[in-house]
């Protein structure tokens, strides 16, 4: 039986792949524009997909990190011994420091009461979460954590780790949230120098990341800043709570185009090995206009 005859007997419809390609291409381009315009329409689909995939990711993350830990066991043992010695020395040093600090803490509490500075970020309610998956394209620095709207999380909540700022939640599902870290190329945070109160913009830069830096821009020319000054989130930021440590500046120079200073910043958080994070479940109060919410990217 010839091929054509067989096709006819089975009534098989043969379509040129070219047309399917064009059809799917137009469909995809259509959904890009549609989802750009009506973001909320896709929320249920995204939620459903997240609910389906998150439990599996959470399970396999445990396996993955166990395997990675095993690998590390063999490769890092020399480093660990050296580090252990260094840490032991550090413990002694810290013990003495700690006793001094406990004394000072009483003093500090007293001063705080005096100034009624009870709105420090250390007092905010926090939720602990684990990083369960990362962006698969290597270029971005976004990751998924295992807590979502069920645990009281919402977009624009600040994420911290240890003592430093990690990033901000940009999307939440029922049991997962997507976090954009401050080292991501598209992230920018309104910051402030702790000692001089000069404001600046801290933005991620992929090209500097291997050296462990991100960019600090728009520092005013008159600012008297030097290397290793601390940068914290500023009071004028719309989304970030004030006073969270971001990192330390270095390499300060003048940008001729904008007549401002710019510098590099070393984040305090180790983004390579980030595992557990804390989400501050307090949103910065938005400025409201008469006709709606005013917000900016910073």
């Amino acid at each position: 039986m010839s091929r054509r005859a067989r096709n006819r007997t089975k009534k098989k419809i043969v379509i040129d792949p070219r047309y399917i390609f064009i059809l799917l291409f137009i469909l995809c381009i259509g959904t890009i524009f549609f989802s750009f315009r009506y973001k909320e329409k896709f929320k249920p689909v995204k939620e459903a997909f997240g609910n389906f995939i998150t439990p599996m990711q959470r399970g396999i993350h445990v396996v993955g990190s166990t395997v990675a830990d095993r690998f590390r066991l063999f490769t890092d043992i020399q480093d660990l011994i050296a580090e252990n010695d260094a840490l032991k020395a550090q413990i002694d040093e810290l013990k003495t420091q700690n006793s001094i600090l406990t004394q000072e803490k009483y003093e500090l509490n007293w001063y705080r009461e005096l100034y009624s500075l009870d709105q420090q970020y250390s007092d905010f309610e926090k939720v602990a979460a684990t990083v369960i998956s990362r962006e698969p394209n290597s270029y971005c620095n976004e990751f998924i954590i295992d807590k979502g709207s069920e645990d009281g999380l919402a977009p624009d909540m600040n994420v911290i780790s240890g003592n430093g700022l990690v990033g901000i939640i940009i999307e939440t599902g029922r049991n997962w949230s997507r976090v954009r870290s401050i080292i991501d190329d598209s992230s920018s945070v309104s910051g402030m120098f702790l000692t001089t109160s000069d404001t600046c913009i801290v933005s991620g830069n992929l090209e500097l990341l291997d050296d462990g830096y991100i960019n600090v821009k728009m520092i005013s020319m008159g600012a008297e800043i030097y290397d290793n000054y601390e940068v914290v989130t500023s009071y004028i930021s719309d989304k970030y709570l004030p006073g969270i440590l971001i990192g330390y500046v270095s390499n300060i120079r003048t940008d001729q185009n904008t007549m401002s200073k710019e510098a590099y910043l070393t984040p305090v958080v180790d983004f390579q090995h980030i595992e557990a994070v804390l989400v501050i479940t307090e949103l910065k109060e938005k400025l409201e206009d008469l006709d709606g919410v005013v917000s900016s990217d910073y």
């Binding site: 799917l24 549609f34 698969p136 290597s138």
Partner: protein, 167 residues
């Protein structure tokens, strides 16, 4: 036919989870291998253009739903790769393990260039040399290395599934 579709979805889900959860913990030189691309190109080589395009859209949507602000961007990138790689089906041979690796390498480079074009060039980041050396070449090498194992597995699956095909 239905078994084929279910198999592709199962493979896509498995590789997606591996790529986002396991390989990010054991990333080499800061890059993650592109397992979904290996799947798309393998299907293209083994089965032709139409299955590859559908696989591409499924894999792309999986990334879109979790990691993209717009739906369809990665779907369209994988769709183009599936379509183009699908032409290679004409020279498919069950025992050929070299051509698919070359195809996967070329496709990975193409995918990265597309990604650079969409996300960085349009932002005015012209330093393509840096992105090539730092991200694209390491990703191509890492992906091809993994493809050596993964393609073999996918090929065995394909040969096994042939039993269920009618005529």
């Amino acid at each position: 036919m239905i078994i084929r579709i279910l198999a592709v979805i199962a493979e896509a889900v498995l590789l997606y989870i591996l790529q986002t959860s396991v390989f990010t913990s054991i990333a080499l030189a800061g890059v993650v291998p592109d397992l979904l691309l290996i799947l798309v190109v393998s299907v293209a080589f083994m089965r032709g253009r139409i299955p590859a395009m559908l696989t591409g859209v499924i894999c792309g949507l999986a990334i879109d739903f979790t990691y993209s602000s717009f739906i369809g961007l990665f779907a369209v990138m994988y769709l183009i790769i599936g379509y183009l790689a699908g032409f290679s089906n004409k020279i498919y041979d069950e025992n050929d393990y070299t051509i698919p690796l070359i195809l996967i390498g070329v496709a990975e480079l193409f995918y990265n260039l597309l990604y650079y074009l969409v996300f960085y060039l349009l932002q005015g980041k012209l330093n393509i040399g840096y992105y090539l050396v730092r991200f694209m070449f390491p990703r191509v090498i890492y992906t091809v290395l993994l493809a050596i194992l993964l393609y073999k597995f996918l090929n065995v699956c394909n040969i096994f599934l042939k039993r269920f095909d009618r005529d």
